[in-house]
């Protein structure tokens, strides 16, 4: 067993939608798995281990990996492990897969994230993620706390609802270039966002992510075999996670300290001095339009309070200095257990130059970010060179 560098050799996704009426859970996941295996031209036998995850209470299935790992992914008579960490599940799965290969334990690992969210309900499920004694009675899923963060952010820094609306406009437009995206709205306008119904002030309907059903799969390979599988690889440059207090109210949520801590650590490790200049593209987990503004600050693309300005200047647009969410991001697509893994898959697609209409030119370094738990951050940087 020898330590090795790790590359993503293939990705697969379903076409994400609000309700997959035609397939059950295991059939839906199979689509993404099959696509990834086909792209890598690997047979199920070639896979050494399966890492798969979702949130147990979202579909009400305990040990879901024992089912889906066998019947949706080629895990029969192989290792199957589940990682579930809330919104960050996808990136936590991706991290597990990376360590599994980097440690030398396995050579080819299939990572799968999925959610069939409308079998239960996202808000219902998310409420159960919080403390039954202290938080659940008033908590209304993710949007309530996200709206609180938006209000705190707005009040502290004077960022405006129009600036937030522009995030939706940008990302839904980007989503139109992504065949897998759920909400593809190339002609969305700021006015349309501003006139959409208030869901949780200051969040309007179009400030919020949709609830999507879908799955995402990636295949990792160690350096020895990766080059045999493909000559177009996305190498893992570094992984880190910032976890935070048990109670979401223990610190200033809108400054997202966990992302600040983890990104500072990861940039140093990868040798990034100025993320805005050194990174070529970022896929961030923005569950609301406001969140993308806050996240770009915490991830060090600009100073605190400057997220709106960064957007206004077009820096994060396609064609800007650091395009954020060419895929359309979470504001376009949110099958929760898959969402953060889609960030990794999309970052890999960008590094490999396979983004088609959503491709950012000449991507050398891409950041994938997952958000979840009590304002946690999972990060992975992918690069063209090992």
């Amino acid at each position: 067993m020898v330590k090795q560098k790790v590359a993503i050799v293939a990705t697969g996704q379903t076409k994400h939608r609000s309700r997959r009426r035609d397939v059950n859970i295991s059939e839906m996941i199979y689509e993404a798995v099959k696509m990834a295996l086909d792209e890598a031209q690997l047979t199920p036998k070639d896979i050494d281990a399966v890492v798969i995850g979702n949130m147990d209470h979202f579909e009400g299935i305990n040990f879901s990996e024992m089912w889906t790992g066998i019947e949706s992914a080629p895990g029969y008579l192989k290792p199957v492990v589940k990682v579930a960490t809330g919104g960050t599940t996808g990136t936590s799965l991706a991290a597990y897969g990376y360590y599994a290969v980097a440690s030398g334990m396995y050579d080819k690992v299939l990572v799968v994230g999925w959610e069939k969210i409308n079998e239960g309900g996202a808000t219902t499920g998310i409420v159960t993620a919080f403390d039954a004694r202290w938080e659940r009675p008033a908590l209304a899923g993710a949007l309530g706390p996200l709206a609180l963060m938006a209000s705190m952010y707005m009040w502290e820094f004077g960022v405006t609802p129009e600036q937030a609306a522009k995030v939706t406009v940008k990302n839904r437009r980007n989503a139109a270039n992504n065949p897998f995206a759920h909400l593809q709205q190339p002609n969305m306008t700021v006015e349309e966002v501003m006139n959409s119904p208030v869901i949780s002030w200051p969040l309007r309907l179009h400030d919020c992510c949709p609830q999507s059903e879908g799955a995402c799969a990636i295949v990792y390979a160690g350096e020895g075999v990766a080059r045999k599988i493909s000559d177009n690889l996305a190498w893992v440059k570094g992984v880190d996670t910032g976890h935070y207090y048990t109670y979401g109210g223990d610190d200033v949520m809108h400054k997202y300290p966990a992302a600040k801590i983890a990104s500072t650590r990861l940039y140093k490790k990868v040798g990034i001095r100025n993320p805005l200049k050194d990174l070529d593209v970022a896929e961030v987990y923005e569950p609301s339009s406001w969140a993308e503004l806050m996240w770009t600050e915490a991830l060090g693309f600009c100073e605190y309070g400057q997220g709106g300005k960064l957007l206004d200047e077009g820096v994060t647009e396609m064609g800007g200095e650091l395009p954020v969410n060419p895929s359309g991001g979470v504001i376009a697509t949110n099958p929760i257990g898959a969402t953060a893994l889609i960030r990794v898959a999309e970052a890999a697609i960008q590094v490999r130059g396979l983004g088609g209409k959503r491709q950012v030119p000449d991507v050398e370094l891409a950041l994938a970010h997952g958000f979840g738990g009590s304002v946690w951050a999972d990060l992975m940087i992918l690069g063209k060179e090992p």
Binding site: S26, Y30, H57, E59, G120, A132
Partner: protein, 146 residues
């Protein structure tokens, strides 16, 4: 007791699971036509009852539907003598793994027999269909010894 040391909560959620083409057809055939359908793997030839889209051993999509028998052979059983809120019958009753005639997999279901002495591996059982189907696996109400 230490009950005042607890907050009594629950997770109570109504789930609606899309059955999909395989489980959907299987359960509807039972309810509507009192037929038990399996699906055959074109690669290994195994007939799966209940059906699923993918043969987990070959990792191939299966497409060929076949009707299997309403009778089968008991491969294993247990008799339960405790009760839980989700058990469909009052104990004692048996769970069995039954290989239906014409299939190659075990079908897990209930055998309405509470005395382990009256059950045997290798014995024959037959499906009893519910008169008013409700659209779930219990539209086969139970199996009875033949």
């Amino acid at each position: 007791m230490s009950e005042d040391k607890y907050f009594h909560g629950r997770i109570r959620v109504p789930y609606r699971h899309v059955a999909g083409a395989y489980a959907g057809r299987f359960i509807q055939e039972i309810g509507n036509n009192k037929r038990i359908m399996g699906v055959k793997c074109s690669r290994c030839g195994k007939v799966y009852v209940p059906p699923r889209m993918v043969c987990f051993a070959c990792f191939e999509k299966m497409k060929e539907w076949v009707e299997v028998g309403k009778q089968g052979t008991v491969k294993g059983f247990t008799v339960v003598n405790y009760s839980t809120p989700v058990m469909p019958l009052k104990p004692p009753f048996a769970y069995g793994i039954i290989e239906l005639d014409g299939s190659n997999t075990g079908f897990v279901h209930i055998i309405k027999e509470g005395d382990p002495k009256k059950l045997k591996v290798g014995m024959r059982v037959e499906a009893v269909f519910k008169s008013n189907p409700e659209g779930n696996i219990l539209d086969i109400e139970y199996f009875k010894p033949v």
